[in-house]
């Protein structure tokens, strides 16, 4: 097995072009498990922990954030809690401190597991994934990134180099249900972002389908309700029926299965609860603190 240790992005990209079968490794929280269990024996590992370009984040011209794919969760929590509130919430629920010290959003995307904790938020905020190869750079909306169970549009010569997250124009929430109080793979999870700027909302569902999912009908429904009631301008409390309907539509968008962590029926039910709950929190946040946040 080769161990490739590039120290610049250019070197990393040319290494990946030369050996497309090389498996990128950053925090190792997925790749090393496969190696330790001997489930996978790649011909080469491509270590990305020495590529400085991947380990930084910076503001973008439109007020958003370009998050290097190799920034560990711990730094997202400590450095980006205000800029990326939903992502930081999701990052806090990942594994343990040891895992958060190593694991990265790039790794979460690379693995593309439907249970990955950051996907629902990335979907909800309409993030984009920056993919690079020696052929060039392309930016793929995360909503088009996942193609199947643990599959994505990532080409074999490409690396995930960054995630582009729009400015948080409104409240964001993430919630997950698990069987333990910590160190738990989500039974199901839900991310929500309110976008007062264009009057839309974004959603993301985790662990309840072959890929992370959007609840498009739920987004349209809520967008319509907020517009019809002129609620962005004069934010009244949401009615129970709106919250309930939103929850139902989120549950309907899921495509869960029964497994050892929970039944499909439970997942649908819990998603409706998570959707109602996060909407309640986010809307409350918008009504009371939204102005300051947007300022």
């Amino acid at each position: 097995m080769d161990f490739l240790r590039p120290t610049s992005l250019a070197d990393a990209l040319s290494a990946k072009a030369d050996q497309p079968e090389a498996v990128p490794i950053a925090g190792g929280t997925d790749v090393m498990v496969e190696l330790n269990f001997d489930h996978r024996r790649p011909s080469a590992l491509l270590d990305l922990t020495r590529v400085p370009e991947l380990a930084t984040w910076e503001p973008t011209a439109d007020g958003g954030t370009r998050l290097g794919a190799g920034v560990p969760y711990t730094r997202i929590i400590t450095e980006l809690g205000a800029r990326l509130p939903g992502l930081a919430m999701a990052a806090r629920t990942v594994g343990s401190p040891q895992i958060r010290n190593r694991g990265t959003v790039g790794g979460n995307l690379g693995a593309a597991s439907p249970a990955g904790d950051t996907h629902p938020v990335l979907l909800a905020v309409d993030a984009a994934v920056e993919l690079r190869s020696v052929r060039g750079t392309r930016v793929v909306p995360v909503r088009e990134f996942y193609t199947g169970v643990k599959r994505s549009v990532l080409a074999s010569d490409e690396l995930i180099t960054a995630v582009l997250l729009p400015r948080a124009g409104g409240p964001q929430q993430f919630s997950k249900v698990g069987t333990r109080n910590a160190m738990v793979i989500a039974v199901c999870s839900f991310g929500l972002a309110l976008h007062p700027g264009d009057g839309t909302v974004g959603t993301g569902i985790g662990s309840a389908g072959p890929t992370p999912l959007r609840a498009t009908e739920a987004e349209w429904f809520l967008t319509g309700e907020l517009a019809d009631g002129d609620l962005w301008e004069s934010p009244k409390p949401l009615t129970d029926s709106v919250r309930r309907r939103f929850g139902e539509l989120v549950a309907e968008a899921a495509a869960p299965i029964d497994d050892v962590r929970g039944s499909a029926a439970y997942r649908r039910h819990a998603l409706s609860v998570l959707a109602r709950r996060t909407l309640g929190w986010a809307w409350q946040d918008y009504r009371t603190g939204g102005d300051q946040r947007c300022a």
Binding site: T179, R180, N181, M183, Y266, H269, A270, R277
Partner: protein
Amino acid sequence: MTVSPIGREIDRVDGPLKVTGSAPYAADYRPEGLVYAYLVQATVGRGTVRGMDVSRAEAAPGVIAVFTPFHPLPLKSPSGESGENYSALQDTAVRFRGQIIGLVVADTFERARDAAALVSADYTVTPSRTSLADAGPGVPQGLVQKLAPGVSSIDAALASSPVTITTSVSQHAHHHIAMEPHATTAVWVDDQLTVYCGAQSPQRAAATIAARLGVEPAKVRLICRYTGGGFGQRSPVWNEALLCAAAARALRRPVKLVLSREQVFTAIGHRAAVRQTIRLGAEADGRLRALSHDSDGELPAAGGWQMMPGRDTSAVAYRTPNIRIDQRLVTLDTPPTWSMRAPAEAPGMFALETAMDELAVRTGVDPVELRLRNYATEDPVEGHPFSSKYLDECYRVGAERFGWSRRTALPRSQTDGDWLIGMGMASALYPAWRQPASARARFRDDGRVAVASATSDVGTGAFTMLAVVGADELGLPVSSIAAEVGDSALPPGGVGAYGSSVTTSTVPAVQAACRAAVKALVQSAVDNPRSPFAGLAPATVRYRQGRIEANGRSVDFRTLLRTMGVPHVEAVSTSAPDKSASQYKFHCFGAHFCEVRVHRLTGEPRVNRFTSVFDVGRVVNAKAARGQLTGAIIWGIGHALLEADPIEPDGRFAAASMADYLVPVHADTPEIDVHWLDRPDPHISEFGARGLGEIGLVSSAAAIGNAVFNATGIRVHDLPITIDKLL
């Protein structure tokens, strides 16, 4: 005057080594010339290995040998001992998915593992029996029955009872999850084998290894000074350790075999899946007329521990004129089963105490009062009185400390925001077991006394127990005692670390050995011509707190030994239960009180707090006792809410990794108030300790389940109590 350390908060003597990472466990040894082994496991659930292709593995870099049923390592068949009923690689039968069908040895671990993946096997596959529900009912294994005069059957007794309860519960396979995965390092020097391998009973394990390798028992030494947890899974010797020792013999060099965590799930026994039905017949005021306990336990075709959950629970717990315990075993093609902490008592008492809670609900009698109304002062089947039983005091003290009087019997009547709050209780019992045991006490000329017994400290505190009891007996500080366990070469007669019996059995042996060693020291002092006490009558010489005294002279034993030119004086003693013990029933008792919260909308159950009060006889070390009891109570959270490994129709465990088989983590642990009564058992031994390693787990799951019912009105009978069952 030295203050006795008995019952005080004593620091673990092995603590400093463990916090610095310098205590060696089985996988930590690296003898010269070491090579590494890796298992090949069957990938079908049942059948025959038709052939194996090892050519790619043998050609792989660093590979030294590949052993298979077609090129086996010789092992004798097991004889008599329970556990796996076959020796690996001796035939081509596949008894369960994950059975060992090969062993690859290479110069590094990675190379052995990689080569193992290159071994392929062809199978003839036959259908597996994997479902307890579908394969039952099982074969009865010893009926326990007592009927009142004139009662024709338990069914008749139940039918004539004013109130009847029928409760069926089930649980899947459980895994011990001792933190240390099984590991063996085997070293032959000429014809003498030393095995470094975690073991709960070093002498029994060494004897098993000798018998299976076909060598004299004296040729095998097993060392397990530090062992990363036992919980039952290290009481037998499994095929993996035998193969490691056999490979080291065949290759004439040390071999280390460390199982991956995934392999531990199948190569090492699990707690059997079990289904149980309790039927209670009672008066309207809750007094029992009849108790029936039926069970179907998984018994693998490959052998294993027999799951008999009624015998030490329902046949002992309550006063009732009619009892029937019918325990059946169902043969399945699953990995071997083995005893796991409170092996039968944890599932058995979950069933009984769930049913008792249902009876309390039905009769409207408070759960504590219900248990007092059915309080047994003697074994309800055989009629022997309990040696010492203060369970009523456990109920009273526990209820008081917990605030049981604040509970409302009506479910869903207490809330905290979106959380439903519930309280539940359950009683615990576990047999107390004193075995014959031996110990050695040795006065050494370095000023310390070595106290040894060939038992094992699997985290239980046996090292410290020896030090505390030795210090107490000899009037010395605990730091003056050098405790030794975990070595089969220690004097014969060490007891295994199972059945909560080490302290109960070994304390009397240590006391006897210390007394005999003092006698030997005095004898030596009067016999040895260089001794200042030479020629005195032994009766005129006395030992006091490490000093030998006579005629106004007082010499510490270190000085005495050095003066005499004797490096040490020792005695080995054996202590066994008194004959009169057979008239009593020996049990430990306890009462758990638990508060839970269940989320109204998502069904998430969480444990808020526990109060548990125990009657376990005399306690040697309060610090160790609290750790053992608390740790066991937390196992109840796993039992009730988390732990389950269903077996799929193809014989595969559904949750064979630590990401899927969930045990409680730090963030799950509630406030725990553990308390014990200080009531030495007058009949079990002069010292009066009854053992406490397992009782904390017994019924803590039932207390949680009963509290969940009180919170939600939902009774979950099929464990674990997961979120989807609480909506």
